[in-house]
């Protein structure tokens, strides 16, 4: 066959096309993977191995616990890493797994990490445990899905991972097989996660920055290797890996919006005082900034409320050092309360249904001003979620309420999801954002139905 024949040319063009597509895919993967910044790269400076760092050790437990038993140290670190958040089902035994993650391509269940030999991690050696935490490889050599944040935990020291294992092995074993995942092809092919890990798991232990002070380095370790804040607050790329070019710029996770926590003054936390940030992390509430609900409320209840003051301060220092990225859809929160009179504040010709629901179900706690006469954490003034024109978290908290467990708070809000229709909740969310926020939302009943489906 002659090369200049039409079929030969077509074949060559096809080949060139395939090569071009492969090249684009390769460049894309390089851009998202090898060439992408790691979580602490924004800080620049000189990285050194932990053994070469001679200031105060940024890893391990805080000073108060240095002489505690390995199990007690492991308990603190397991809380810092918030293992319970995912490895506990709603109302289930802590660490026995079974929590469902509803994804667009099926449902994934967390596993049992109690020391049960049959259904838990009772047969894991220290080496097995490290493989799971650092590399995302299970004891039977199966690949873990990156729902397990091993690309963050990979920064954890071996000693800290061993302490967490010692703590988990001190718990009563619970016989609890994980429910079968229902992922569709190709997401049910676990071996593909090996490729994912190769591209997106740096598989490196924490390296302090010599130019930064010990407090910053401690904060970096806690935020990145332990609390894994970026797993919710950093947007993901096409391959579902964290895109650290937009570190902490916010993302939607499990139907809730994890807000921008960069130092942008309008849409991030740049205008928060250090005291407010520390209060928010330690208690789940900051005056004038609102209360943590949903997944962030759980992070406070399961993890952050147990951190020492110095560790909270270190985390605040580190988070504040992340440079600002503006979220164009988030206005600066309105800092002043709404008018005391129901008749003022929202245009009289707006949807009356939202106001009627608010009067009956909400005003007793949130008042017409938004300043709660009952509990400070119910105050809506200055809160990011009511200053979010997508109203995502306002809708979520109306649907499922707030059931905080932290010791010193009584921040309970009933769930209204079964009391009101999608239309009523849409009207209510639009009324709330119009009354208390800087920019009203325009959500529809369809939006509410979509958010309900994620619960």
């Amino acid at each position: 066959m002659n090369d200049s024949s039409p079929t030969g040319r077509a074949g060559r063009y096809t080949l060139i096309g395939i090569v071009a597509i492969l090249a684009v895919v390769l460049i894309g993967l390089l851009w998202m993977g090898v060439l992408a910044p790691h979580p602490m790269d924004f800080a620049g400076g000189t990285r050194v191995a932990l053994t070469e760092y001679h200031a105060q050790d940024p890893t391990g437990v805080p000073a108060e616990l240095k002489s505690a038993s390995l199990i007690e140290q492991g308990e603190y670190l397991a809380r810092a890493a918030d293992c319970a958040a995912c490895h506990t089902a709603d109302g289930g035994v802590p660490f026995a797994g079974g929590r469902a993650f509803v994804l667009p391509f099926g449902t994934l269940y967390s596993t049992n990490i109690t020391p049960d030999k049959e259904t838990g991690i009772g047969n894991y050696s220290d080496a097995n445990f490290l493989e799971a935490v650092h590399k995302g490889i299970g004891r039977d050599h199966t690949r873990l899905y990156p729902a397990m944040p091993f690309a963050s935990y990979t920064y954890m020291t071996t000693a800290d991972a061993a302490a967490i294992k010692a703590y988990l092995f001190s718990l009563a074993p619970v016989h609890a097989p994980a429910p079968q995942n229902t992922l569709s092809f190709p997401f049910n092919q676990r071996s593909l996660m090996g490729v994912w890990a190769l591209l997106f798991n740096p598989d490196k232990r924490f390296e302090p920055r010599t130019e930064r002070d010990p407090q910053w380095n401690r904060g970096a370790y806690l935020v990145e290797a332990m609390a894994h804040c970026g797993e919710c607050h950093t947007p993901r790329n096409l391959m579902q890996a964290l895109n650290n070019r937009e570190k902490f710029a916010g993302a939607v996770q499990a139907g809730w919006r994890a807000y921008n926590i960069t130092s942008d003054p309008k849409s991030g936390i740049g205008a928060w005082s250090e005291a407010a940030l520390a209060q928010y992390l330690a208690t789940g509430h900051a005056d004038g900034r609102g209360a943590a609900t949903g997944p962030m409320g759980e992070a406070v209840d399961n993890s952050l409320q147990y951190m020492t003051q110095t560790d909270i301060a270190a985390m605040v220092t580190y988070v504040r050092s992340v440079s600002g990225i503006a979220s164009s859809d988030l206005p600066e929160p309105k800092a002043s309360p709404a008018p005391a009179s129901h008749a003022e504040g929202v245009a009289a010709n707006s949807d009356p249904r939202g106001k009627a629901v608010y009067a009956g179900a909400c005003a007793s706690c949130h008042d017409w001003t938004g300043v709660s006469p009952v509990i400070p954490s119910a105050t809506l003034t200055g809160v990011r979620s009511v200053n979010d024109p997508t109203a995502t978290n306002v809708v979520q908290v109306i649907l499922s309420g707030s059931h905080r467990q932290a010791a010193d708070t009584r921040a309970t809000m009933p769930a209204f999801g079964s009391a009101y229709s999608d239309e009523e909740i849409a009207s209510l969310a639009n009324y709330v954002t119009a009354r208390f926020g800087a920019q009203p939302s325009a959500v529809s009943a369809q939006n509410i139905a979509a958010l309900r489906a994620q619960n």
Binding site: A343, G360, S364, V374, P376, T412
Partner: protein, 150 residues
């Protein structure tokens, strides 16, 4: 020990600061006119005044009351507006079973204190959070207007 100003008197109670005011009123001080309905600020039966504003006492921790004045249904008749509201309730025979009515009177008095001549929309906004399973809403609305005229 927590000190509270209730109906013009200082009352000191041995209770943790996160205890809801309603529990202290009913179980410790014996002021049982204020009722427990839902416990989640959804029915209004437990409404009291804190510095004149209506507050659901079932969720209000006593530790956050401070030196603000608490008024309950037992003390509301001491104010001119409160007495007028109570009289209007009797004149119009508002009450059926009566369980929610302490809360209704407290919310109605707060409304008239801030808005002397309320329109229907003001009554809706102020009273929507006080529910009455006997359905006395029509008489409650009439009694508020009656009290506003007397």
């Amino acid at each position: 020990m927590v000190s509270l100003q209730i109906n013009g008197e200082v009352r000191t109670v041995d209770a943790p600061p996160d205890m809801p005011l309603l529990w202290v009123l009913r179980d410790i001080l014996g002021l049982t006119g204020t009722k427990f309905g839902c416990g989640i600020a959804q029915c209004g039966a437990c409404t009291v005044h804190v510095n004149g504003a209506p507050v659901r006492s079932c969720l209000l921790p006593i530790g956050s009351v401070g030196d603000r004045a608490v008024t309950t249904i037992e003390g509301i008749g001491a104010s001119a507006v409160g007495a007028r509201v109570q009289k209007a309730w009797l004149d119009l025979e508002v009450v059926q079973c009566g369980y929610c009515q302490s809360g209704q009177i407290m919310s109605a008095t707060a409304l008239l204190n801030s808005t002397a001549h309320p329109e229907d929309s003001d009554i809706d906004a102020a009273m929507a959070g006080n529910i009455c399973r006997c359905g006395t809403y029509v008489r409650i609305r009439a009694a508020i207007k009656h009290a506003a005229q007397t």
